[in-house]
């Protein structure tokens, strides 16, 4: 029997590693690496290696289901689509289109996300969003404002060209493991690595300078670094004069922000802040990589802005080895945002409140009555569901019941809806609350393009058939749209991409034919003969007079602080063996077998005071609820801070809903908590 090798893109993180699925007798039997792949050179982390385990998994959804008493009844697709059309249609007719909300998925392809947002908007609702809201909404808002584009500025392998790598709020060694090979390559050539994180992680093992700050004090740290850079005259005056605006106000705003003051707030010694400032500013090419440790704060947008300020005042942007690098969490979170599955943006980051946008899409889609204002964000939708302002929801490939903060109230909000459709590959906690559950195809069971964190658009091919009667999201969305009277005539992903080529300027030259090449194309790619743009901002910025904007950012403390009742700060994050809400990795035997339980990391000195030993079961409580976890004592944890991974249902019971006022991202990284040993 011959084996066929089908090229696909890893369904987990935003690094976008490619690999071949080996197919024999219509089953995925193995993985072959792709040594020429630009991001990982063939390497895959544990999740990539385990990815096939979810394809033929016994718990896959194989048939449309409707709620029947306490259980579920199977139904045909005809019946299912009829039910969905009736449920959504009735809500629109009776309550109005703005009582219906859609959640697209940063796990789905670009084509699918494009269609989901188009469906929502053609139905007249502005409420479309995706879980980027929970990871990089501040990057979208902050970087669009300061740099005029919201992507990573440089490619991942370009990190090897850097001579100072500043990693803040990212545990990339666990969460985007392949990036560490490029960090090490730079280190081999003499690069200095700075890591800022409240906890020691495998990422900080790579560090020359480790800044162990208190959660929520990033702006203070970054302002302190900027202050020192300016004080020592290490900024790039020429760059500032030619390429930026706002420097004077910025300089004024941090005049008082000495490293000593920053040290007081962050808990990082002033000397370390000074060392970091010198290394970053004086190296010939410095890059900043950041992730959710920067964004998941009530000051998320300000944190992002503070990061880009550093790059701008030192001119560490627009050249090889430099840049501002938001590392996106999911395989297609960049693409879902590019495709306009966001409350405030139509495809291509055209603002929803700009009349020009509405004019353009009304013409392109031949739709006279598009919603003309920003909609509710992913987290606001849940609040609106609870208050009755949203009556029906259609959720594709997301699990807010596990991934949103304060998850106990999320579940009751979902249950309060008149009608909920969930489309997924497994019966998630969110799907449990649905009226109709639609079985979807996983990544290797369909085709389409995904955009990784470096803006690299790659085509992923279909390797095997979906299980049972599961269907690709694209087909399901088209069926639903047609039954709601819309003209969704897309025979395949390529035909949707052709429309994207016409409506999203950044993707104009990214055609199906050109994506046949391994490694894909990096947007912006404005025409069919354009090679793509791996490095952004090399000749100015797409903002007024081509200048980037240095924005003063005052330091504000996190929403919650330590108190006598809740004396610890809980911060959350990810571990190497799991991914996000865990619906896939917790079902993957080789991953869950290695990391089976929820744990909480605590400093041994703190633990001793509480009589907690390594491995003890503890209750972690916040104002929102209690979760059980096994204590893990580690010197790597800052005193007064505890850490829990959010791949297990317990963690987000605890987290706060307090959100960034602008980007609406919840502050997953700081919740005041109490911890006690269970008897």
């Amino acid at each position: 029997m011959t084996k066929v090798l089908v090229p696909t893109v890893c369904p987990y993180c935003g690094a976008g590693c490619g690999f071949f699925v080996a197919v024999e007798r219509e089953r995925a039997v193995g993985i072959e690496y792709m040594p020429d792949h630009p991001v990982g050179e063939g390497a895959l982390c544990s999740k990539g290696n385990a990815s096939l385990e979810i394809l033929h998994h016994q718990e896959r959804l194989t048939s449309p289901l409707k709620r029947k008493g306490d259980g579920w009844a199977k139904m045909t697709w005809d019946e299912a689509i009829g039910l969905v059309a009736r449920g959504i249609g009735e809500a629109i007719r009776e309550d109005g289109p703005d009582k219906v909300a859609f959640l697209a998925s940063s796990k789905c392809t670009n084509e699918e996300n494009y269609l989901i947002q188009k469906l929502a908007r053609l139905l007249g609702t502005p409420h479309i969003d995706n879980c980027a809201r929970l990871c990089h909404a501040p990057s979208v808002v902050g970087l669009n404002r300061s740099l005029g584009a919201a992507g990573m500025t440089n490619p991942i392998p370009d990190v090897a060209n850097s001579r100072c790598i500043f990693i803040i709020g990212s545990n990339l060694a666990e969460n985007h493991p392949v990036i560490s090979r490029w960090v090490h390559r730079a280190k081999d050539a003499g690069a200095v690595v700075i890591v800022a994180d409240p906890r020691a992680t495998p990422t900080s093992w790579m560090a020359d300078i480790f800044l162990q700050l208190t959660p929520g004090t990033d702006v203070a740290l970054l302002n302190g670094i900027a202050h020192q850079i300016i004080k020592e005259g290490l900024m790039d005056r020429e760059y500032i004069a030619e390429r930026t605006r706002g420097f004077e106000e910025f300089e004024e705003s941090i005049r008082e922000f000495t490293p000593e003051k920053a040290a007081e707030i962050t808990g990082v010694p002033a000397e370390e802040i000074i060392r970091a400032a010198r290394a970053y500013a004086s190296s010939p090419a410095s890059t900043i990589l950041y992730s959710m440790g920067i964004t998941q704060h009530t000051t998320g947008t300000e944190n992002v802005q503070a990061v880009s300020n550093l790059a701008l005042i030192t001119g560490q942007i627009g050249r090889p080895g430099t840049g501002v690098m938001p590392l996106r969490g999911q395989n297609n979170v960049q693409g879902a945002c590019d495709m306009g599955a966001l409350a405030e943006f139509y495809p291509g980051y055209r603002r929803a409140d700009d009349p020009g946008t509405i004019e353009f899409f009304s013409a392109a889609w031949e739709a006279p009555a598009l919603p003309t204002s920003p909609g509710l964000t992913a987290t606001e939708m849940i609040g609106a569901a609870a208050s009755g302002d949203i009556r029906a929801m259609y959720i594709v490939g997301e699990d807010p019941a596990n991934s949103d903060p304060s998850s106990l109230s999320v579940k009751s909000a979902l249950e309060a809806l008149d009608f909920l459709v969930v489309q997924d590959i497994f019966m998630t906690a969110t799907a449990q609350a649905a009226d109709v559950v639609l079985p979807a195809a996983a990544w290797a069971e369909k085709e389409g393009s995904f955009t990784n964190t470096e803006r690299r658009v790659q085509w992923s091919s279909k390797a095997v058939e979906p299980p049972g009667s599961a269907l690709p999201d694209l087909e399901i969305i088209c069926m639903v749209a047609r039954s709601l009277g819309l003209d969704f005539d897309y025979p395949d992903a390529a035909s949707v991409l052709a429309e994207i080529n016409r409506t999203v300027p950044q993707y104009a030259g990214i055609t199906r034919e050109r994506l046949a090449k391994e490694g894909g194309l990096v947007w912006p790619c404005p025409s069919c003969d354009h090679p793509g743009t791996p490095i952004l901002h090399s000749s100015g910025f797409r903002l007024a007079d081509g200048r980037a904007y240095i924005v003063p950012v005052p330091y504000r403390p996190a929403a919650e602080g330590q108190s006598p009742e809740y004396p610890f700060l809980l911060t959350t994050g990810r571990i190497a063996l799991h991914h996000n809400a865990g619906s896939m990795t917790r079902r993957s035997p080789s991953l869950i077998g290695r990391a089976p339980d929820l744990f909480v990391e605590i400093n041994p000195a703190d633990a001793e005071k509480l009589g907690i030993g390594d491995g003890d079961l503890v209750d972690v409580s916040t104002e929102r609820g209690v979760a059980q976890a096994a204590a893990r004592l580690t010197e790597g944890m800052k005193r007064g801070v505890v850490f829990m991974p959010f791949h297990f249902p317990g963690t987000n019971i605890l987290t706060t809903e307090a959100a960034d006022p602008e980007a609406r991202i919840p502050e997953f990284k700081v919740s005041a908590c109490r911890i006690a040993r269970r008897n």
Partner: protein
């Protein structure tokens, strides 16, 4: 062929474990160990020149074959002597013995190909070059780093 670990690079992601298990029918021959909170190291067969496992095996199931310490499933009785004999604890016996076979039949050991951090390699010169440049830098800085 032998392969080498650059412990400085290992990030403890356990991809080598998962990949090895994947291509060996669910039984992996690598184990990643953590050194406190500050380092991790994958442990696997060193394919010793003087292999004590092979010496201990009375049935000829473990034997040297060029650079490799090879294993013949047919001859293994599952007695477990090799597990006791190996000074590194990297032969395991459950019913029969199993250990690293250097991914016989593949162009490169799977763990080497998959290691995201580029910590494993079959190229001794590469490892030596990295170690020497680290040593040179440390000497220049007058420290031990």
């Amino acid at each position: 062929m032998a392969f080498y670990v650059d412990i400085r690079r290992c990030i403890g992601c356990r991809s080598c474990e998962v990949a090895c298990e994947r291509v060996h029918g669910g039984r992996g021959h690598v184990q990643v160990h953590f050194v406190g909170d500050s380092a991790s190291v994958p442990l696997f067969c060193h394919h010793c020149e003087e292999a004590s496992c092979a010496t201990a095996c009375s049935f000829g199931a473990l034997f040297k074959e060029g650079e490799r310490t090879a294993f013949d499933v047919e001859k293994c009785t599952g007695c477990g002597l090799c597990s006791l004999a190996c000074p590194f604890g990297v032969v395991w016996t459950d019913k029969i013995a199993h250990k690293c076979d250097l991914c016989d039949g593949r162009p490169e050991p799977t763990c080497v190909a998959t290691c995201p951090a580029d910590a494993l390699s079959t190229d001794f010169d590469l490892l030596a070059r990295r170690a020497r440049s680290r040593a040179a830098r440390a000497a220049a800085q007058g420290g031990r780093r």
